[in-house]
Symmetry: C2
Subunit: 226 residues, 2 copies
């Protein structure tokens, strides 16, 4: 178990905190491979955009500018941010855009964010946005009114099929995360998203990370429900 | 298990959410007594003030005006609010004062609040403020600079000695709270604060309540660690 290299507070608040733990797998199993580490990432509020919405918000022909790579290969935090406006004229002034673009636009908030914005964000797996509330996005070049797409992302864990086999789970199963800290907690029912290539990484939101004081955790482990 | 009567969103955000559950004790044990209910209260950020600080902030001779009784007898949310200013000129514009006054002033924040304020709030039991960070409080009549007193309140549960005996715990022990919801979680190591007269009530902060989606919980129970 080791904390990741420190990053400045602005980065912590804006994008994602990644904290690295021993995965609890034995030495024989890990054998120096990347699967030996359990990365727990706390995603601050952020949004995903379509190509079309990027152009509306940031100008014709605009494409996202990668600022910082995320842990999963191919994903990044972009330089771009948008203002998210709720139904009661409350707003979050600077919500980070994550890339690459997607076939749908989606805003992911913790409940604390959603309450401050006056929106009731339902808990959904990423992409399952049918019937969710909308909001208004404001960028430097324009405005997008989303009819739907505001969610609290369901807590989940990415892993490859080898990791899944070691934990005794398969894609779509549920697993628990136990955090040992001054605010110890078991976060139950993380959705297992297993595929060929993903790195072992839990995704939590800021409410979950803060509730469990994950940043100062002594130990963190995935535990298959009995 | 039953949700408490609904309260308007402004109240929810400002003060405290109280959610009522079946305590899980058998019918023979509860026998219609008040101890049959487990109340879980989510305290939003708030502060406690000394008499002297009330006068500095709100004017000479000023005393707190009770606005809403809290669940524990004798305690209330006051009409008064203060602005809390952090070290980086960030601020929380309206933090509720709880009464009655105390021998020390203390600001209780969730980590999400503390991060937005730029303060690292340590986890402490109420009153254990030695060596904690300070802040500036601004009221309509004056300003108070606190040298210390900014904390995240340690999660805890109030109960009377009869309840403690039923759960098999005593004052100072630890007990776990399991929340069954769409964001199910076990919050571990709640400090048991048992005395002659307290009502059975868990105190969480907004990060903890939001992480576990307590407001939509189907069931909530105190479980003695094995």
């Amino acid at each position: 178990m080791a904390l990741a290299t420190s990053i400045d507070r602005a980065t912590i608040e804006q994008i994602v905190r990644q904290i690295v733990f021993d995965s609890g797998m034995g030495a024989a199993e890990r054998n120096g491979s990347a699967e030996s580490e359990l990365v727990v990432s706390i995603s601050a509020r952020h949004c995903h955009l379509t190509d079309e919405h990027v152009e509306t918000l940031f100008g014709p022909g605009h494409t996202l500018t990668p600022m910082k790579d995320l842990y999963q290969d191919g994903f990044y935090a972009a330089e771009e941010t948008v203002m998210v406006v709720g139904p009661r004229r409350r707003m979050l002034p600077s919500v980070r855009v994550l890339g690459p673009t997607r076939p749908y636009s989606q805003v992911e908030l913790a409940f604390t964010d959603a309450i401050s914005l006056g929106i009731g964000a339902p808990v959904r797996a990423s992409g399952k946005i049918e019937g969710t509330p909308g909001c208004v996005l404001v960028g430097p070049a324009g405005v997008v009114e989303l009819d739907q797409g505001v969610i609290r992302a369901e807590r989940h864990v990415h892993m490859n099929f080898r990791d899944a086999a070691r934990y005794g789970v398969k894609n779509g199963d549920r697993i628990n995360l136990r955090v040992e800290s001054s605010c110890a907690a078991v976060l139950e029912d993380l959705l297992v998203r297993a595929d060929e290539t993903s790195k072992l990484e839990v995704h939590l939101d800021t409410d979950e990370g803060n509730a469990a004081d994950l940043e100062n955790a002594r130990r963190c482990e995935l535990v298959k429900p009995t």
